[in-house]
């Protein structure tokens, strides 16, 4: 429901930066108070915000409406269709006519490239890589031998898919014997992976990022781990080997998971937490080691007052000692 005022919009902008001709939005409660001072010409608001004196687009999902508004005004960068003359493409690899292969890309033997794929300069595909339709691989992405990407996968710059898992057998002399990492990494449809994130292959079996999962920058996915459908992993999260996240798990920044864990569907693990235990479905966990978020919040509140507790405890000890003396005297 757009208000009736006649207003021309030329741009989408943040609430503090917006000026005349801009439409802005509020989806994070933190910014509701900024509505009064915004210079925007129009605003996208949730149904729950009281009416204001600005042309308003009402929606039950202002963030999604903002996303769509952005697309009206923005033409995303697309590399030119065709194969750059400097790309090194192994014999026998078929590149669809609507794909784009950038300068100095290197595509190994036996790779398959889907329709509408955009491969930016300096991407390296090792032999046997399969890239589904409409994937977008930014500069300096590397996909190692035999790994597979589904359709519409987006890999931001510097992502490494399929580097060797961290697998070494300790030897009797205190050293290590490298274990061949023969598995693959499988990335399903609609996954996006943030820049410089690393996803390792395993000794045996596949490392899997399931459909729709979103991984932020500098995330580490260990050998044989599985990230469930529609999971969200914020930046700098680390998943050790063989750990499996269920569907729709949300993981805050810098969280760490030990290896061989099961994390249930829709669990939430807040930023900087760490766990070496399984997490049940739907649990909200915090802390390192992590436990129930609301209990953790109470514990952290006490933690800040621990010196007070020590003082109180000492005072009690004194008082009890006095009481004991009194009761001894009383005898």
């Amino acid at each position: 429901m757009v208000s009736t005022e006649d207003v021309d919009i030329y741009r989408v902008a943040g609430i503090d930066e917006a000026g005349s001709g801009d439409i802005t939005f509020v989806s994070n409660r933190k910014y509701v108070s900024h509505i009064k001072t915004t210079q925007a010409s129009a605003i996208i608001l949730g149904e729950d915000i009281p009416p204001i004196d600005l042309p308003t687009l009402r929606t039950d999902d202002p963030y999604l409406a903002f996303a769509r508004a952005l697309e009206i005004f923005f033409t995303p960068l697309r590399p030119e269709i065709g194969i750059h003359p400097t790309a090194v493409i192994a014999e026998g690899v078929q590149v669809p006519p609507d794909a784009s292969i950038g300068a100095y890309a290197v595509i190994g033997k036996g790779c398959t490239i889907g329709s509408g794929v955009a491969i930016y300069p300096h991407v390296v595909l090792y032999p046997g890589v399969s890239v589904g339709d409409n994937c977008l691989l930014h500069s300096h992405v590397i996909v190692r031998e035999d790994c597979a990407l589904g359709n519409r996968v987006i890999l931001q710059n510097g992502v490494v898919v399929g580097s060797d898992g961290f697998g070494f057998a300790p030897t009797k002399d205190g050293g290590f014997y490298k274990i061949c990492q023969t598995g693959r990494v499988m990335i399903e449809d609609d996954v996006e992976v943030g820049s410089n994130t690393t996803i390792d292959r395993a000794a045996v079996g596949d490392t899997i990022i399931r459909r729709g999962a979103k991984l932020d920058n500098l995330v580490q996915i260990g050998h044989g781990a599985q990230v469930g459908q529609d999971c969200v992993l914020a930046a700098q999260v680390g998943l050790a080997g063989s750990t499996r996240l269920g569907k729709g798990v949300w993981v805050g920044g810098q969280v760490g998971f030990a290896g061989h864990l099961e994390v249930g569907d829709k669990a939430i693990i807040t930023a900087q937490s760490g766990t070496s235990h399984d997490i049940p479905p739907g649990a909200v966990m915090s802390g390192s080691p992590a436990f129930d978020n609301s209990a953790w919040l109470r514990s952290t509140a006490v933690f800040a007052k621990l010196p007070d507790m020590v003082r109180k405890l000492r005072a009690l000890e004194k008082e009890i000692a006095e009481l004991k003396n009194l009761s001894r005297d009383a005898k």
Copy 2:
């Protein structure tokens, strides 16, 4: 004030490695005791260190004097002036005659390159990037479309500037709708960014690294965040989206900031801390969740003795139970 002894110096070296012909320095108190055993031929010392039996350069800033001494003996690597024949430079891009463009660099349409710029091999500039004078971009740096670097910016290897922010609107089926990231990253003069650090662009508005800020390796700067002038961010720090650091903020390694926070000028956040709250100017904060550093130090001291506290509490409970029995008996 150099001592009067006649001594030839050929090299600058650390206090433990230095030998005959070397000058060394002490700026970290931890190494004062090493002065006695150093084999150096001369030493740079602060005014506060007692005289010793070595030719001594006295200064109120031994670390800076050491830095300048290093420059006397060291010729930093500079790539050859000119454009390597393998560089792919879009039509219309002007490269100043004193700039250096390395092998296999790729420079997109509409980029501007300042005077004295050194671009090492395998750097990729997407279209519309602006690089100020005397910038130094090491191999495998990527600067994405429309981002801008000021003058004298140094990007170490593998830095990603301007990858897409982690912005997705949740949809009703549990999936996510990717939000176009239409903003830019602006890096002001004299900033240095460590290797494999990632700095994301935002949906709207700019991500800004202000003048003189120093970011170490593997740091994550989220979409729309701002790092203030002369901030120092140690390795593996993560700043979530829209968080703003004031001027001169010092951030220890592996610290995490939630999104949409304001951190005041000259705040200090010690290593591995994390916060989801604003931080006032000048505050020194520690812990996850972070609070005042000196209070946190006291709390952590108690934390290590928590089992003792439990024992004491139990002992008190027993004693009180006994006292209650006594007082009941006394009635």
Copy 3:
């Protein structure tokens, strides 16, 4: 000791994925219960597991036996011997006839390349780099000027060796003066480094990774740090400048070390811990700040129950107040 049944094995697989024709193994106790349900045709087991109804290879080191079994069935990828025509190799650099230099590799002046070296596409060696025999450098590895790799060093994709250390002298105006980083990084024999890990050079002196050490992905090694022989560093660990790890130190994921520390031989630091103090040999440390692991486990157990402690303390205070009243009344 192989059981006497006549069985053909074609593949090595994980215990849950294995089927007919596969050999599997159990080395992690967590998977012993999976033995009953595995579909494998044979299994590698430790001496301590009770006999089961499957052809069994008994060994005192099932993990190592598994590693060797893998090698029987797996042919690791090896790039073609020879120099790709697009590689840019500085004049005077000798490439042994059994080495492999991939597409778009750039090798600077004065580099030395050992026998049997495999350099994948897009590797950049700055001038003066020395690469020992049989090293394996994956795509997008960068080794900066004058750094040296021993023999059989494996660098996974995107590793940066020798980027500038994070060294700046504060100036009186609140800014920073960059300190030349004139040192080198030395990586000894049999080291493996995980993808996108960064290892910085120092202002003076060498950063050293000693023989046989294994570093996982996204690890940060600060300027002048030393990692001892056969150390194991899990993903996302950060070592600040000048910190030295002894021999055989095991470091869990996301651990942080402050600068200028000494960590003794065979110390173990568990995941997400952090320390700004030296660690004695053989210590097992946890927490941030870290202390003895078993004490830390007890403290964390209490931490989760802190609100209970507060309640108990309050109850005691009440009871003592009552007792005091009683004893006053008694007088």
